[in-house]
Amino acid sequence: MTLEILEPGLSTTVQDRGRFGHYNVGIPQGGSMDQLSAEIVNALVGNSAEEAVLECTYLGPKFRTSAPAVVAVGGAPVEVKVNGATVSQWEAIELAAGDEVSFGFLQGGTRYYVAVRGGIDVPLVLGSRSTYALGALGGYKGRKLAAGDEVPVGDTASGEVLAGIAPELRPAFPGETEIRVLLGLYDHRLTDSGLATLLDSTWTLTPVADRTGLRYSGPAVEWKAREQPFGAGSDPSNIVDAGYAVGSIQIPGGKEPIVLHRDAVSGGGYAMVATVISADMDQLARSAPGTKTRFVAVTMEEAVAARAEGKALRRSIWG
């Protein structure tokens, strides 16, 4: 069976848990930006957590099913419509052949996810179905969806369709958020006041936010002046090009910190000063432009504990 794409939406891509093992040649991990939301909608339709879903950004697609199907929509709050009639998010939806699914405007957040029982069945490329559009790799023909695409759906799902998901397990999409970070990498290159500015300020997410990263506006952050080492660029925020940790924060020229996300470049010449802990990468991805954000420094022990909490939460979803 297929989903026939009638309208593609702003940027709708096939994503899964991500593509690992090729970061050393610049192929990013990719995958759903909000992994938890994607995992919940998979659980709702009886898929495994590995199945690929559609990631919809701001303005969703309109599609028609070629055969009876079970779908679920979760993530950022949005009105979901079947043949024009509103249905619920965070619940499995039974569709007949020829039903049309469309979406209203987002009421918060950035991205929502559509799981179909059986999973989006595009070919695995380097172990993943995730779309890496810059490299024209994976997903549906290596690109975001376009009108007229016929997106294949798998025919095997072993799990049971869930009646629903407890409201307290659903992610929140607040206008203010705290993101935990581990200081490190090149934080010693900031002045004491620069580091204090990073941690004590409230940052506002700018519209420059996509799958590669999120740029924040706020006060200038001071770097220590120095004679630059050979091969590094001329600005104090430059380093000899190095690998970038996913989730790391760079502050080019001391202005507008950028947090790298799942489709970011794998390396470059800007010093990173902290990294968002793995447990908070989903929460970061849920931020809409305008979100007031504070970066809170934690220890490695706290980061590992938060990661364990996230795992426990996921176990409770899968029962």
Binding site: F20, G21, H22, Y23, N24, V25, G26, I27, V125, L126, Y132, L134, G135, A136, L137, G142, V181, L182, G184, L185, P229, F230, G231, A232, G233, S234, I239, V240, D241, A242, G243, Y244, A245, V246, G247, S248, V265, S266, G267, G268, G269, M272, T275, V276, I277, S278, M300, A303, V304, R307, K311
Partner: protein
């Protein structure tokens, strides 16, 4: 041993720091040098050989190394201890060599594609008149574009890092520091760069693997692909990315006719890169770069 390639003493100098709970970052040196890159690469290879459970990505870079790990499987402290052990092993290697390959990369220098793109983005450039090649020649005190091009393809380059985007090689010129070509990046990055553009920023050359944004100066265009997701050419049969850290590159200038003939071979699926296996000896290279390079490049003539 001469220190002209920027060797210095890098024994035990690495700095260990964390990129969140999943990344260990090892800075070999703040400054770029052949020796720092060699050490990063050697540590990466040895970590790979150990096949440590929980290590998920090993990414050697110019003068640093990024390791990704799963903290549920591998404790951060254990990974750091292992890397420090590996650093001592690498520091104590009496005669470091790299078994790698020497690859000839055909380039159409001063081509119309990069020239047109350069003209479109002139307002973001240090030198609004002329081309990126004219600018590069000027800042390196060379007589002109032709002399710059000659210097660019007459010595070998080491692939010191692959990344940024899929399959993009950063290359470091294997000549003493005072002879290295250095060109600042664009003042304001371009939003467009033709695929396969041969670029340059700071002391690094690169080949853009895909079309997109870029800030490096543009000198020419490589004739054959370096990233092939469809894996249609023989050189890509095993993997869609051509370059690996440690590869040694020799650029060969081609004219429009040969560029087009190579394009035809790529189209027909018959193009293969000229490449030979070589053993790169760091001490010999640092000791007498000029004669070492001459000897190294002779391997291409024999093949």
């Amino acid at each position: 041993m001469s220190d002209t390639l920027g060797a210095g003493s890098l024994k035990g100098t690495a700095r260990y720091t964390w990129g969140g709970d999943e990344f260990l970052f090892v800075e070999i040196s703040e400054a770029m040098s052949l020796a720092a890159n060699f050490k990063s690469n050697s540590m990466a290879t040895r970590l790979g050989d150990r096949a440590l459970a929980g290590v998920t990505e090993i990414c050697p870079a110019n003068a640093s190394l990024l390791v990704r790990f799963d903290p549920d499987v591998l404790d951060a402290a254990e990974l750091e201890a292992t890397m420090r052990e590996i650093e001592v092993e690498v520091d104590n290697t009496a005669h470091p060599v790299l078994n790698t390959r020497l690859i000839e990369v055909p380039v159409w220098y001063d081509d119309p594609y990069t020239r047109e793109t350069g003209a479109r983005f002139r307002s973001g450039h240090q030198r609004p008149e002329g081309t990126d090649l004219d600018f590069a020649a000027e800042v390196n005190n060379l007589s002109g574009a032709a002399e710059f091009i000659r210097r660019h393809h007459s010595s070998p380059w080491l692939v010191s890092m692959v990344g940024f985007v899929a399959g993009l090689p950063f290359m470091f010129q294997m000549v003493p520091r005072e002879q290295q070509l250095e060109v600042p990046k664009y003042l304001s990055p371009r939003t467009d760069t033709p695929p396969l553009t041969v670029g340059h920023g700071g002391c690094f050359a690169c080949i853009y693997s895909v079309r997109g944004a870029g800030g490096y100066q543009m000198f020419g265009i490589a004739a054959a692909p370096i990233f092939d997701p469809a894996q249609s050419l023989a050189d890509f049969k095993d993997f869609m990315v051509f370059f690996k850290p440690g590869d040694i590159v020799k650029f060969r200038p081609v004219d429009e006719d040969e560029y087009k003939s190579i394009k035809d071979q790529v189209e027909a699926g018959t193009f293969v890169y000229k490449q030979v296996p070589v053993t790169f000896d760091l001490a010999e290279a640092l000791d007498d770069p000029e004669s070492y390079n001459t000897k190294l490049l002779e391997n291409l003539n024999d093949s």
